[in-house]
């Protein structure tokens, strides 16, 4: 028997596989394809204080082993989430985690205050790393001070588990991770997308309406694995690894590098069942290698 459960702060997940925010809607979109109760957790779409229309079309470009997106946090706001979506998903037999975004610290705090009353929101993921919004977003995530200011304010407004999602677009991600930890984060998740760009050479125009967007997919995995390894060696709080996980093998790679849990994002677009297949792979992998608990797998890379 292998024990797949993992702990993120005071929160226990039945297994280490979660879905990445913005790639899995509110879970319902995938209910025809998988049994959602087999997931460790669902991190729902980035939620802001007020509704957001996001950026104009086109928002997507395919790239080698990846894609650029420029959605820009389109969502109907926290109130709509609390009134209309939460009642539909609160009784899913998995952990529901809300990704929280904002243009200002007050925005983040406001979202958390509204979520505080929703008992089945197991945790929040504080997004200080969205590359596709003009204000806030990634700008909080590229300096230690910016990170510290958001995280400590949110910490006062939210007493359940808080995960802080980091941007990879920095010189030294371990500094930002340590700032998040010092400001009260229960865990850090990384990486969000890399700021990228593509040009339609025949039309001589950018492929995205916003010129730049966030690069995700298998292409970024080597960089994300490296950052997870660095951060896991720099902080004491759990690290949630993501960035280009396409299957169970890749999930194990992040765990060997030091991740306590993982998120699968872009791969959901290609295989809507990838998450459940990854859970099965991890279980099989642990059996084959005589590993009885996920905690043994985390950081088990031999150097």
């Amino acid at each position: 028997m292998v024990d797949l459960s993992v702990k993120i702060g005071s929160l226990t997940l039945k297994n280490p596989v979660m879905t990445a925010s913005g790639t899995f809607g509110y879970g319902e979109e995938f209910a025809d394809f998988i049994d959602l109760s087999r997931l460790g957790g669902i991190i729902v779409k980035g939620t802001t204080l007020n509704p957001r229309q996001g950026n104009p079309y086109p928002r997507m470009a395919e790239t080698p082993s990846g894609m650029l997106n420029a959605v820009g946090l389109q969502n109907k706001g926290v109130e709509y989430f609390a009134s209309n979506i939460y009642p539909r998903i609160k009784d899913l037999d998995t952990r529901v985690i809300v990704n929280v975004s904002g243009a200002s610290i007050d925005d983040y705090v406001g979202v958390c205050e509204r979520l505080q009353g929703l008992d089945k929101v197991a945790a929040i993921e504080v997004n200080i790393s969205c590359p596709n919004v003009k204000q806030g977003g990634m700008s909080f995530g590229t300096t230690c001070d910016g990170c510290e200011s958001v995280v400590s304010a949110v910490r006062k407004a939210w007493d359940r588990t808080m995960i802080v999602k980091l941007t990879p677009n920095v010189t030294d991600i371990t500094e930002i991770a340590r700032a998040a930890e010092a400001a009260g984060a229960d865990a850090v998740s990384l990486t969000n997308t890399f700021l990228g760009m593509a040009i339609d050479v025949e039309r001589q125009r950018p492929c995205l309406s916003t010129i730049t967007g966030g690069l995700s997919g298998a292409c970024i995995r080597p960089i994300a694995v490296r950052m997870v390894w660095q951060v896991a060696n720099a902080v004491k709080v759990p690290v949630v690894g993501l960035g280009g996980i396409m299957n169970g093998r890749d999930a194990v790679e992040f765990m060997l590098a030091g991740a306590t849990a993982v998120q699968i994002g872009t791969a959901n677009f290609i295989d809507p069942q990838v998450t459940v297949k990854a859970v099965e792979y991890i279980e099989d992998y642990m059996k084959r290698h005589g590993i009885t608990s996920c905690a043994e797998l985390t950081g088990a890379m031999k150097v």
Partner: protein, 249 residues
């Protein structure tokens, strides 16, 4: 859901008609205008699935008419017979079939594909169906025989090699005063021109959009179209078929 390629029939230089059957189980119910997301095997430069409109479907077969537009669709066009494709379906809302009177179904290029099934469904419901099919040249008109078996076909070619010479929007059938409904699928300029005519004439009109998409499930929010009532909505779940009254164009 895995499908086996029963037949791959070249149609002109740039199109393949893939006739697929489920490897196991039955085909789900499909509405005209719905689409599928196909995983592209063996294409190094293709990462995402490709959305392809459903040309025809019954309880044991699925037809996809694929235009060779880039490396991904080219790889699909070359799918060997007996190979297996992973297909997510059925996706999207499909065309209204609750139509009375005379319906004009206007297609341009590979946009004619979903109209075949729609016309057949409407004709079976007693609607007076007319197809208006446009292409650059006669050789680009696909499945003419099947369209003709289904309903009356009007043709417009830019070079005049078959039917009316000119764009579909200049075809005389558009002046038919009995038309109560238009369904349109084709290049964006064509759809916008058709929508303008429909608006002017007060004819109910639906168009099928082809915005670039990643997931096809309403999760990635990449394929959005700006609507009058709700702002940006996903073409994959709220569409691909929209009544022109919802659109800002």
């Amino acid at each position: 859901m895995d499908f086996i390629v029963k037949a791959n029939l070249k149609r002109g230089d740039n199109y393949s008609l893939l006739k697929l059957a489920p490897v196991k189980g039955n085909m789900p119910q499909v509405k005209p205008g719905q689409f599928v997301q196909v995983e592209v095997p063996n294409s190094k430069s293709t990462y995402l699935r490709r959305p392809i409109s459903i040309n025809y479907a019954d309880s044991h077969e699925l037809w996809l008419l694929v235009r060779r537009a880039g490396a991904g669709t080219a790889s699909l066009c070359n799918a060997p017979e007996s190979s297996v494709l992973s297909v997510v379906l059925p996706l999207g809302n499909g065309f209204t079939t609750d139509v009375k009177g005379t319906a004009l179904l206007i297609g341009g290029g590979v946009g004619t594909a979903p109209l075949l099934m729609l016309g057949s469904r409407l004709a079976a419901h007693g609607v007076d169906v007319h197809f208006l099919l446009g292409a650059r040249s006669m050789g680009d008109l696909l499945q003419l025989d099947l369209f003709r078996q289904t309903a009356e076909v009007h043709v417009a070619t830019e070079d005049g090699s078959l039917g009316h010479k000119g764009l579909v929007t200049t075809h005389p059938v558009l002046r038919n005063e009995n038309i109560t409904h238009i369904a349109c699928c084709g290049p964006m300029p064509m759809m916008k021109a058709v929508a303008a005519i429909a608006r002017e004439r007060g004819i109910n009109c639906e168009v099928s959009l082809e915005n670039m998409m990643a997931c096809g499930l309403g999760a990635c929010l990449c394929c959005v179209e700006d609507t009058k009532d709700e702002g940006n909505v996903c073409v994959c779940t709220e569409g691909p078929v929209f009544n022109i009254n919802r659109l800002k164009w």
